[in-house]
Symmetry: C2
Subunit: 362 residues, 2 copies
């Protein structure tokens, strides 16, 4: 069954206004006007075009639109490859808020050393702004920020502080630790086991600074009030690490009255070690985590933790990032800080007294 003529408009996929105009039987110009809601068109023409869109599913080529000057309305989001639950929550929240404001998100997971390629891709896509989520190699991200400045492309770093010249919104980890320690000190705790705080990362140093300041209010110092046994165990799996370090603390002759963990997984490991040693939490020892993940409600006892206030972070990110678009670059970086919320649950309580309830099971 030979067919001579090219297929009628029936099934061919339409990929340009030219083809589409031919299909509807109108001039390209007219079609373009309808597509862009310009005034001065017959209702009948509009209806005809609309029907044709339904029939063909035609969408104008965004690439041509942008060449003609339309904003891309796209934000590049660069997220580090360590995808922790809080980081994913921020990513999801940011994406959703951007979408509500009619911005598309171009998302790339970046490994150390890979940010240059990603940023160049984002720039070639003429994104309106770029957000970074996570903790990056400081030198590397500082270089990216510098490039973006000379490019006059707005940026925002979420979670990492201390990058010179960078706009940032970050959790005030020092304040979080200050809150937690002020509370524990008020509960008469004086000896603290820190689990997982051994690192030169800025975020850990900030936390130690917060602890120091809370201790200072009681005339205590970090060396006299806190101890670490991190060096005794490798940190591969946070839960197992917390369990192992806590076990080491328990085997010690002088168990601190409170174990403070870098994150919830480590804290849950510590809870487990306590249970295995038949120590009752918080009667015998208090345990606190960080991040306030959903699991904190599922442990026995429920875990005291610091909430990252992700919705606040996302809101701040939107408010810092979007107003930069289309305006001259600010000379001074914008930095906003989010205070964590201390969520006190069952795993922390008054410090055990030596002559009161027993520290160790009989």
């Amino acid at each position: 069954m030979p067919v001579s003529k090219p297929a009628a408009p029936a099934r061919a996929v339409i990929r340009s206004t030219a083809e589409f105009a031919r299909y509807v039987g109108l001039a390209r110009t007219t079609v373009s006007r309808v597509l862009n809601g310009k005034p001065g068109l017959k209702p009948k023409t509009i209806a005809k075009v609309q029907r044709a869109i339904e029939e063909t599913g035609f969408t104008p080529n965004a690439y041509a639109l942008h060449l003609k000057g339309k904003r891309t309305a796209t934000i590049g989001i660069c997220i580090e490859n360590l995808l922790t639950p809080p980081a994913l929550l921020k990513l999801a929240g940011l994406q959703q808020k951007l979408r509500e404001r009619n911005y598309a998100s171009l998302i790339e997971v970046v490994e150390p050393g890979g940010s240059r390629r990603t940023v160049r891709h984002f720039l070639s896509m003429r994104v309106d702004a770029i957000a970074f989520i996570g903790h990056f190699v400081e030198e590397e991200i500082a270089q990216r920020i510098h490039e973006l400045r000379t490019h006059e492309t707005p940026h925002l770093i979420i979670d990492q502080v201390g990058v010179p010249g960078a706009n940032a919104v970050a959790l005030d980890r020092a304040d979080g630790m200050r809150q937690l320690f002020a509370y524990l000190l008020a509960q008469r705790h004086r000896s603290f086991g820190l689990i997982g705080f051994t690192s030169m990362a800025r975020s850990v140093r900030d936390r130690l600074a917060g602890i120091t300041s809370a201790l200072a209010a009681e005339n205590l110092t970090l060396p006299e009030a806190t101890r670490s046994l991190d060096h005794l165990h490798a940190r591969e799996n946070d839960f197992e690490f917390g369990r192992a370090v806590a076990r080491s603390f328990i085997e010690t002759s002088s168990l601190p009255t409170a174990l403070v963990a870098l994150n919830d997984e480590i804290a849950i490991g510590a809870l487990q070690a306590c249970r295995e040693a038949k120590l009752e939490v918080p009667r015998d020892v208090s345990v606190a985590g960080f991040n306030n993940q959903d699991v904190c409600l599922m442990t026995t006892p429920q875990l005291t933790s610091l909430d990252q206030q992700v919705p606040n972070t996302v809101d701040a990110a939107i408010n810092l990032l979007l107003p930069q678009i289309g305006r001259p670059l600010r000379a001074r970086p914008l930095v906003q800080t989010i205070s964590p919320l201390l969520v006190i649950r069952e795993s922390t309580g008054p410090a055990p007294t030596l002559n009161g309830r027993p520290r160790r099971p009989a």
Copy 2:
């Protein structure tokens, strides 16, 4: 200090090959050749251009490139707004694999009723293919798939089965339940409490089918071997729901020997209810979850669960999606099924015997 001449190339942001060529002092054509690695260029010219790229950070406009026929190398990913941990893992895994293959990801979170707008946006961005992650309203997604077919744009649905004409990769939930029940039956369990299986969703029906088939192998039927008390409690928070329903089972005169939960959160709630009732798991009752989330390792006892095998799912997705690109659309949909992996941990064991160890604490 009036300035008469326009600023020298010094600080102006360069946004086109024309400006850039002027900056380097070469013809646009030559610059384009260097940018695209064409042969027949003096090393000196290449070096000059490369240096200028370093200096200016110039990136060619991707929109113009594509207009000239370059592939967008972009995949649209549509994810439902119920961002469960496994769904996020799939999103992150897919994004990472695509990136390794030099595809960019355009990601949008979609609410019920919102898929049309998202797909139209993706199409206007001339994506090479579209992936859907999650469970969508069947009628709505069926409509999208139909549109994509007429558009000759490849698609893949991850996690949802039963959409007519759709390419899909999905977890074989029936097989998962079959595995779990075969194991529990071998452990002499004969009475099962199902928690959270009350739903007309296809994924739940599939699971019940799997249970039915495992029971049939022992000449048992769903009505005689399983019970549900879902109707007694509202399901707002899965953990609390699991706890409440399990408590109701415990208060019953005939506690099943195994509680099987729809997901890990519900199972952890059930574990909690058991602990509160001083029932020992698995001595007095076995408990199993679904998804094998990280928390399964953090509970006491550690939770038996079914692993979604996310890496397998992601690999299958890549292998189903990418080969479709640039080829004529296949007439028959591609459907691939991933078998969950039963991970047996401490929360399940032999069924208690009535005349052996006590079912309830004395």
